[in-house]
């Protein structure tokens, strides 16, 4: 037993299995969150039928997708049609390998971490393109062409803003980036006297475009090209594309969190006196609010089964409160909490932007990409480089 546990491959394998097993569920709940938040923004209710307040909707959706007829269009290139969603999902899930979920939970700490994720997400685009092309449908083809063009345009500002962040961090390893922020005592987004906020915002915009989300969701613009590259997909293949899409949202949010927003660090990581507030009080407050809301649901709901589901969820929330109160346990999971909390905030703002901004026209999309984002990101790179160098020079002269 001791021998097995001390093997360096065991813990990464466990984390990998957990991620691969749990991520479909997480993706399902991101979809539910999206549907609920969009419904709230549009003064609707959203899913309410399955489980209390639609809480079990993701399970019902997954079950439905599994049972659906699996159609391959007559004119489709069968093998590529089969392969495309697999490719998308595989690359999206592979990118999780280097994401530092916390200082203790991660699969691998590679010294080219961020490069690996970018490479994987670029291969993932191939899945969309192949899927659109092999469907033998004009809508799918148009969708995947748009997707390709959009990726090419927006990967440039994304890359430049990442380079700016890496310049401040000084390493490509994902854990190293977080550690350097700990050493500098400031999140990269607030480094250089706030100048780094510009690449952080640019990264956010190009990340939305990279993941084909509204307002940059031209590859799947319903009003023009039905559903874009996955028009002809149904059933489980469609579910795989969906999974890949949400995995890439999660991955790109994780990159943003790691490079710009301090990864698993709490706010003000170097101020000792705030440790109690951010390590204990804040997570306990968050989970007790969630638990109390669940209790309110238990009181308000009418059916006993729904009360039971709500009570279980509420109980889990209060269990988390207890876990965060134990110092040893707290140390173990506080990094995970902050990382996932920040990712949640970014995913929430993705949904918020989707609920707010109308879709760009194609020429507007290209103009925003090439005439604003790219020059601004290069400018931000240069300005930040000068800011860093001038800071060093001032240090040399003793200021």
């Amino acid at each position: 037993m001791e021998e097995i546990l001390s093997n360096p491959y065991v813990f990464p394998l466990i984390v990998t299995t957990l991620i691969v097993a749990l991520f479909p569920l997480v993706a399902g709940y991101i979809v539910l969150l999206e549907r609920k938040v969009l419904a709230d923004m549009q003064v609707r209710l959203g899913p309410m039928r399955v489980g209390p307040y639609g809480f079990l909707q993701p399970l019902a959706d997954a079950f439905k997708l599994l049972l659906k007829e699996d159609i391959i269009p007559a004119g489709a290139d069968k093998w590529i049609f089969w392969f495309a969603p697999v490719l998308s999902t595989f690359t999206a899930l592979t990118a999780f390998a280097v994401i530092p979920l916390s200082d203790k939970f991660f699969v691998a700490d590679v010294n080219i971490g961020i490069l690996f994720i970018l490479a994987m997400s670029s291969v993932g685009v191939l899945g969309l393109i192949l899927g659109g092309w092999s469907s033998n449908s004009k809508y799918s083809l148009l969708g995947s062409l748009r997707s390709a063009a959009q990726m090419v345009s927006y990967e440039v500002p994304l890359g430049f803003s990442l380079v700016t962040g890496l310049m401040v961090a000084g390493t490509l390893s994902m854990q190293g980036i977080v550690r350097s922020q700990l050493d500098q005592g400031v999140w990269v987004a607030f480094a250089n006297g706030g100048l780094m906020l510009v690449p952080a915002v640019l990264f956010m915009i190009s990340a939305i475009a990279e993941t084909n989300r509204a307002p940059f969701d031209l590859p799947e613009a319903e009003s023009e090209i039905v559903a874009g590259f996955h028009t002809e997909y149904s059933g489980f293949r469609f579910a795989l594309f969906f999974l890949a899409e949400y995995a890439s949202i999660f991955v790109i949010s994780s990159i943003g969190v790691t490079v710009f927003w301090g990864g698993w660090l709490r706010p003000f990581p170097n101020v000792e006196s705030l440790g109690v507030v951010f390590n204990y009080a804040f997570p306990m407050l968050v989970f007790s609010i969630l638990g109390l809301m669940c209790l309110r649901g238990v009181i308000k709901l009418m059916l006993i089964e729904q009360k039971a589901v709500m009570a279980v969820v509420g109980g889990a929330m209060f269990l988390f409160v207890l876990l965060f109160a134990i110092p040893a346990m707290n140390e173990l999971i506080i990094g995970l909490f902050w990382f996932l909390f920040k990712v949640f905030v970014i995913v929430y703002s993705f949904i918020w932007f989707r609920g707010t901004f109308p879709r760009f026209r194609y020429d507007q999309l290209m103009r925003v990409g090439w005439t604003y984002l790219i020059p601004i990101s290069i400018g931000a790179l240069i300005v930040n480089a000068f800011a860093m160098v001038s800071g060093e020079i001032l240090e040399v002269f003793g200021y």
Binding site: D40, V43, M302, Q306, W352
Partner: protein
């Protein structure tokens, strides 16, 4: 200059974001979860017909005068009656009302001298067959029985 600064700092976008954020208040939701909650229709809404019975004796109020059938522009009401030899009164034997042809004008209701026939506020009148839309006396007296949903 002001316009330029507005454009640079995305004031309009921020305004839009504020609108959507503000509207997330659950109190603003106006969706009605229909089969669970039923809308309160207007007081003078004319819906499913009803043949009223006496609240205590449960005897029909209808005196089989046939005025509703005469008033009906669609001629969809059929009143069947029989003379009771002892009391010398007309007694209702059957009453059919074809809701598939009804336009809910309410003329039958107005014509009724004893307020027996009435158009109520019930609106769930769907049926699986055309024959199901022709209501007999029993159905008119009981009224539609919509399913109650608890959740």
């Amino acid at each position: 200059m002001k316009e330029f600064l507005k454009a640079v700092f995305w004031v309009d976008l921020a305004k839009g974001l504020w609108v959507t954020l503000r509207n997330q208040n659950p109190a603003y939701v106006c969706t009605e979860e229909y089969p669970r909650e039923r809308p309160a229709v207007a007081e003078r809404y004319r819906g499913a017909p009803r043949l009223n019975v006496h609240p205590e004796t449960e005897q029909t109020l209808c005196i089989a005068c046939n005025l509703c059938a005469l008033a009906c522009p669609e001629q969809l009401i059929v009143v069947g009656s029989q003379r009771n030899e002892e009391t010398r009164r007309k007694e209702l034997t059957h009453f059919t009302y074809d809701t598939s042809r009804c336009m809910f004008c309410g003329l039958c209701e107005d014509a009724c001298p004893v307020d027996a026939l009435e158009l109520t506020q019930d609106f769930e009148m769907a049926s699986f067959t055309r024959e199901g839309a022709i209501w007999d006396r029993q159905m008119l007296e009981e009224g539609p029985l919509p399913t109650e949903y608890k959740f």
